[in-house]
């Protein structure tokens, strides 16, 4: 059995930041199914928010209000307050680590406007901010390579939970297939989101709900799973992200008639309205037949910005357009559509990164979560751009701190190694032995299709019910698949199959949450319940695993400074 004091699953921004917090004084391991610099945090482009006031005077109070309004008042405001207060310190700390930031003429960290923010507070590194921060943290990890052990290309299967206490995880080495139990005093999950359940997504192939499902299977509920953010500017048909920064720098959104249609939906903010509003606007235009060439295409027009500005502020975006769809945004508009981008929901935690298991906030001892896989909730029903990179670093630090304090006080608890190992070995064997005739690829494609069509930007009761039925049928088909690669050496096929199983389960939870939430709020939009219903639904959903399937309970929202008001831009 492998033994560490603290084990962190996921090596993106949240995971690496947590590792830096824990490594002085404790034996810490960080585990990821991809090498740390391959983590999806690196794909974030636009910026990281903080009220530094380098461009225009700003305050944490304004950042708080923008975030809460952006979240359609579902955010837990006490957590948001800590979050926005910590932001400036966190940015300076990243810069001190050596993170490369774009600068103002007088050498300070440059900041730009971003959707839903009333002041320009997005600190950025050209249009590769996530990449810049990811590498800065990775460099710090390398600097402390003697104190932090990296398990690269290891997969986390399950959580070892004994009553209300977490004692470790069960993992396997992707390269050899060897299954191991990792005993730990504290476990931190920083496993990211699950956009891959959808057809058109900005997410990497690795974003497959493994962390959240391990928690769910261990009896921990998932909070606000129905809140999925559709980013307005995903590359047509491919879903690849074109940063919101393109709009911050002044890009226009045009429909098939060449109109800047946002004036109908958010006249004061136009293209810089929050993402859910812009995505719905785009979807409405496309559904009404006003997409470009009548297709599901909207144009992102950057031509008027000029080559110099594009090359200075948006060089990567220009290259993405050229490489992936043969369009040079200096000369032509980019074809985009809404793409599933961010999972507001996830493993419920308190504002210290400690995982909780019910509406009362009962702790799961020794289990912590941070980043996109967690739901604190700082984003509420819709996340503002640049708040996710911030969330990962702030809560990576906080979860790390909480885990550190906890692990300093306790001893390792015994773990039944063979029992835990056997469950996973049986799961592997089960897949290897299956000799059915269903294609896993077809199952995955059907899941993605039904989720995008029936549980996408606009949702409705009958469609959601069909969605759930379809997913359940696919879960049955899943039991009748057949694997090609039965070897142990670097078997990527079996891990894709395990990921598919997690995604099917997650898809069902998202659809069920969407069905039960009979209102529209933030990223969750019901055509049959188009209004926000504070009276009945100003609450977080908690999806539990029960013997009768998924049960949805609810948890109150913490409201401190801002009473829910009408959300217009």
């Amino acid at each position: 059995m492998i033994k560490h004091d603290v084990v962190i699953v996921g090596s993106g921004l949240a995971g690496m930041r947590a590792a830096l917090e824990v490594c002085e004084g404790l034996d810490v391991a960080i585990l990821s199914k991809v090498y740390p610099t391959r983590s999806h945090s690196g794909a974030a482009q636009g910026g990281i928010a903080a009220s530094l006031g380098n461009s225009e005077s700003d305050s944490w109070e304004e950042h708080l209000y923008d975030t809460v309004k952006g979240g359609d008042f579902l955010n837990d405001q006490d957590a948001v307050e800590e979050f926005v207060k910590a932001a400036p310190r966190v940015i300076y700390e990243l810069e001190h680590y050596g993170c490369v930031f774009s600068r103002t003429p007088d050498g300070k960290i440059a900041q730009r406007s971003f959707g839903g923010h009333s002041k320009p507070r997005a600190c950025f590194s050209a249009d590769r901010t996530g990449h810049a921060i990811l590498h800065a943290l990775h460099e710090q990890l390398l600097k402390r390579s003697k104190s932090i052990k990296i398990y690269s290309e290891w997969y986390m299967h399950s959580l070892v939970l004994d009553g209300d206490r977490c004692n470790g995880i069960v993992v396997s080495d992707i390269r050899t297939g060897a299954v191991e139990v990792m005993q730990a005093k504290a476990v931190i999950f920083a496993t990211g989101g699950y956009g891959r359940v959808f057809n058109i997504t900005s997410n990497a192939f690795a974003s497959t709900a493994d962390g959240v499902m391990a928690a769910f299977r261990a009896g921990i509920p998932l909070e606000d799973a129905e809140f999925v953010q559709y980013h307005p500017s995903g590359l047509y048909r491919q879903g690849i992200l074109f940063s919101e920064a393109a709009r911050s720098e002044g890009g226009y959104l045009l429909n098939g008639e060449g109109e800047r249609f946002m004036d109908k939906y958010a006249p004061s903010r136009m293209e810089l309205a929050p993402r859910d509003i812009v995505a719905r606007a785009e979807q409405s235009e496309m559904d009404a037949g006003r997409g470009v060439d009548g297709k599901d295409i909207i144009h992102l027009d950057l031509r008027h910005l000029g080559e110099a500005r594009i090359m200075e502020r948006l060089p990567q975006i220009r290259q993405l357009g050229i490489d992936f769809i043969g369009v040079d945004c200096v000369k032509d508009p980019l074809p985009i559509q809404p793409t599933a981008h961010y999972s507001m929901g996830g493993i419920p935690t308190d504002k210290f990164g400690q995982v909780i298991t019910d509406a009362e906030g009962t702790h799961v001892k020794g289990f912590f979560a941070a980043g996109e896989c967690a739901c604190v909730s700082v984003h509420g029903a819709n996340r503002l751009g640049t708040n996710s990179l911030l969330e990962a670093v702030v809560f990576g630090e906080r979860a790390g701190k909480s885990a550190f304090e906890y692990a300093m006080k306790v001893d390792h608890a015994p773990v039944n190694e063979s029992h835990e190992k056997t469950k996973v070995l049986e799961q592997f064997e089960g897949v290897f032995q299956q000799n059915g005739d269903e294609s896993y690829n077809d199952i995955r494609n059907q899941m993605k299709k039904v989720m995008t069509e029936n549980c996408g930007v606009f949702r409705e009761e009958k469609q959601l019910k069909t969605c759930i039925e379809t997913i359940e049928k696919l879960q049955e088909k899943f039991k009748n698949g057949k694997i090609t690669d039965k070897g142990k050496l670097f078997n990527t096929e079996i891990y894709e199959i395990l990921e598919l199983e997690n995604m099917l389960a997650m898809a069902e939870i998202i659809a069920k949450g969407a069905l039960d939430r009979k209102e529209s709020r933030g990223g969750h939009s019901r055509t049959d319940y188009p209004k926000r219903d504070d009276e009945n639904f100003l609450k977080h959903s908690l999806a539990y695993k029960t013997d009768d399937g998924i049960e949805i309970k609810y948890k109150p929202v913490v409201i401190t400074k801002h009473q829910p008001a009408e959300r217009t831009y």
Binding site: G98, R128, E139, F205, T492
Partner: protein, 313 residues
């Protein structure tokens, strides 16, 4: 169009030798090479093994050799890569294959580690951000785009014959700190990078720049480190002496003095080095190939001297 993918398979669990296997796909206009690899894996042979994640040219997982040259699979359109009707896929070069197209990246990360790839600040951090001008940012902008995909490392001509060479990725990463105005260890860094296996072992072949999927252009970064090393006075090595001697020669006559430069490069008192030059020198003398002892200048050499003076050389 129907494309035949000739893929190098290797599974030491099954058999010792690698072999090529053909897969045919009907490829549409805008499918990337990675899309094709996925299609093959998901519909024809699930055991095909390779790494991939973001599919948007930022994570660096999916670099492979296509038609003999390293490339990022997700960034290239398959129809642009076809030769005849075939695309040959092999694992990255200069790295040991684990299985099929997946290679062992450990030695790559070890080389990155060797260049102390983290900021070593000049002074204690201020309360807010350290000041860095946009001009200073632009010095490290290019190297900061590196996604560590390994394409440059794969096709480096020197690494192919000398595994002690740090390689373009590690050296480009080193430049990210050598020219970071916030870093306080410039001299120490360039001293280390000027040792054998460092910057002066780069053969200028340009493969790394050619294969890099981002604007990192490792060779250009290596040259920047060379310039800093020379500015810092780290000149006690053949590469630095060569650059200084060459530059001096062009100043004095507008052209290379091929008799003097080899001697100045190894160092006047480097008897071993000078001795090593003897065979080829004598050989050339014997054949009448040696450059004339009386070294002629170009016409208008004064203009060249003037340019040198104007640029403080």
């Amino acid at each position: 169009m129907i494309i035949t993918f000739k893929i190098k398979r290797y599974n030491p669990e099954k058999q010792g030798e690698a072999y090529f296997e053909d897969f045919k796909l009907d490829v549409q206009e805008d499918l990337t090479l990675l899309d094709c690899m996925n299609e093959i894996k998901w519909t024809l042979d699930g055991s095909l093994t390779y790494r991939m994640s973001c599919r948007s040219a930022i994570c660096g997982s999916c670099a492979v050799k296509a038609n003999g040259h390293a490339t990022l699979a997700c960034q290239r359109q398959a129809t642009h890569l076809v030769k005849g009707d075939t695309i040959v896929l092999e694992p990255l070069g200069n790295m040991k294959p684990i299985k099929d197209l997946a290679v062992d990246f450990e030695p790559f990360w070890e080389k990155i580690n060797k260049v102390s790839p983290y900021l070593q600040p000049k002074q204690k951090a201020p309360e807010k951000e350290r000041v860095q001008s946009p001009e200073q940012f632009s010095l490290i902008d290019d190297s900061s785009t590196c996604i560590m995909c390994g394409s440059c490392h794969s096709d480096c001509n020197v690494l192919e014959v000398d595994e002690d060479f740090l390689g373009p990725a590690a050296l480009a990463k080193a430049q990210r700190f050598v020219q970071d105005s916030r870093d306080g260890k410039t001299l120490e860094r360039v001293k280390n990078l000027s040792k054998p296996g460092g910057i002066w072992d780069c053969t200028h072949c340009g493969e790394c720049v050619e294969r890099c999927p981002k604007p990192a252009r490792p060779f250009d970064r290596i040259k920047e480190i060379m310039t800093v090393a020379l500015e810092q006075g780290v000149t006690n090595n053949n590469g630095a002496r060569h650059a200084l001697s060459f530059t001096k020669s062009v100043k004095s006559s507008g052209r290379l003095n091929e008799n003097i430069i080899p001697v100045e490069s190894v160092g006047f008192f480097n008897f071993r080095g000078l001795f090593d030059l003897l065979p080829v020198g004598l050989r050339m003398l014997f054949k009448g190939k040696n450059p004339p002892v009386f070294h002629k200048s170009i016409d208008e050499v004064e203009d060249v001297k003037r340019i040198y003076m104007e640029l403080d050389e």
